[in-house]
């Protein structure tokens, strides 16, 4: 069960993620030139408002996008509908938001 509003949310979050993924990949390629160390990465991200914002946005967009995608799979393959499907979707958003923000916190704030 995919409403048009969820459909729109999934497309908008995809549009948001596309450039962020490219940026992420670009920085990865740049970062591994001359070896990869956690110190170097943390040196760039720690206390950085910019990277906090970028990865924070990414986590929010991804959590919404992935949860809607999984919702469709769960509906079509397992036949779950109605309130249960809504609860499962919300739980996936919360789970992904939790895991994602923990990671962002770790590289930016700690």
């Amino acid at each position: 069960m995919l409403s048009i509003k969820l459909y729109i949310a999934q497309r908008l979050t995809a549009m948001l993620m596309a450039p962020l993924v490219l940026l992420h990949l670009g920085v990865m390629i740049y970062a591994i030139q001359g070896g990869l160390s956690s110190g170097e990465i943390l040196g760039r991200t720690q206390g950085s408002f910019f990277w906090g914002l970028i990865y924070g946005l990414f986590v929010v967009a991804l959590s919404i996008h992935a949860a809607i995608g999984l919702r469709v799979v769960i509906y079509e393959w397992l036949g779950v509908t109605g309130a249960r499907l809504n609860w499962i979707t919300t739980a996936i958003v919360i789970l992904l938001l939790g895991l994602g923000s923990k990671a962002v916190y770790a590289v930016v704030m700690s």
Binding site: M1, L2, S3, I4, K5, L6, Y7, I8, R11, V72, Y75, E76, W77
Partner: protein
């Protein structure tokens, strides 16, 4: 004749929803023989009670569609020689529809979904108005024309995995029809129709894998029509029109 004395092995589905099985027949091979010719030969010579549908035999009416060697096809215009699997041909009813008997499916739900998708024209003029002039070059008219040659055969519907997994999904044919009307400048039901095609099982459920487009015998592109609907509906929703 090159085919004189030759036969083909035909596996044909007999029975109904609760109990169907493939039965083997031997049918004389003929030149330019269609799958419908094969089914008709069996019905006339071996199985008088075999149920199947056809009418025009020239690809106009859309009633003869069946599953041939696993793929949905219009049988009156499918040559046996083009779809043979070795020396065997397997003929079954269309997928995604209840079987009434043998090769005849129940298309009620298929057509009910056309109604649900508001696949009918909503006039905006009366007989007293003059005829509206529409250039065939207009973008909206070209969009409508691209999808208008549907013969309601159900081939796309039978090939769609979303139809299989989601009973409420309106399916490629009904949505393609809705798209032709959304592009018809004479039609007055645009917003109502966009609402109808974005409810449960609406256009947003399409996965765009293009099974429908691969098999449509009239080479229509329902996937493209559905993408058009998704975009039009999303824009109308964001604008608060629906």
């Amino acid at each position: 004749m090159a085919n004189k004395g030759k036969t083909i092995k035909v596996l044909l589905s007999r029975g109904d929803n609760s109990n169907s099985a493939l039965k083997e027949y031997e049918v004389p091979a003929k030149e330019s023989q269609t799958v419908l010719d094969v089914v008709t030969w069996i019905q006339r010579n071996l199985e008088p009670d075999l149920s199947y549908r056809f009418a025009c035999r020239v690809g106009m009416c859309g009633s003869c569609a069946m599953t041939v060697n696993g793929k949905p096809r219009w049988t009156c215009r499918t040559h046996v020689s083009k779809v043979m699997d070795g020396d065997t041909i397997t003929i079954e009813p269309l997928r995604n529809m209840p079987i009434i008997k043998d090769l005849a499916c129940d298309l009620n739900e298929f057509f009910e979904k056309w109604t649900k998708a508001k696949g009918h024209f909503v006039p905006t003029k009366t007989r007293d108005d003059s005829v509206q002039i529409i250039s065939p070059k207009e973008k909206s008219r070209r969009e409508a024309n691209a999808g208008i040659e549907c013969i309601n055969c159900g081939v796309c519907y039978a090939s769609c995995d979303v139809v299989e997994n989601d009973a409420s999904y309106l399916g490629p044919a009904a949505l393609n029809r809705a798209w032709t009307l959304v592009n018809d400048v004479r039609d007055g039901g645009r917003i109502e129709r966009l609402k109808a095609v974005t409810g449960d099982g609406g256009c947003q459920s399409c996965h765009s894998q293009q099974g429908c487009t691969t098999y449509c015998p009239n080479t229509l592109n329902p996937t493209r029509s559905i993408a058009g609907l998704k975009k039009a509906a999303a824009i109308a929703t964001l604008k608060g029109e629906m």
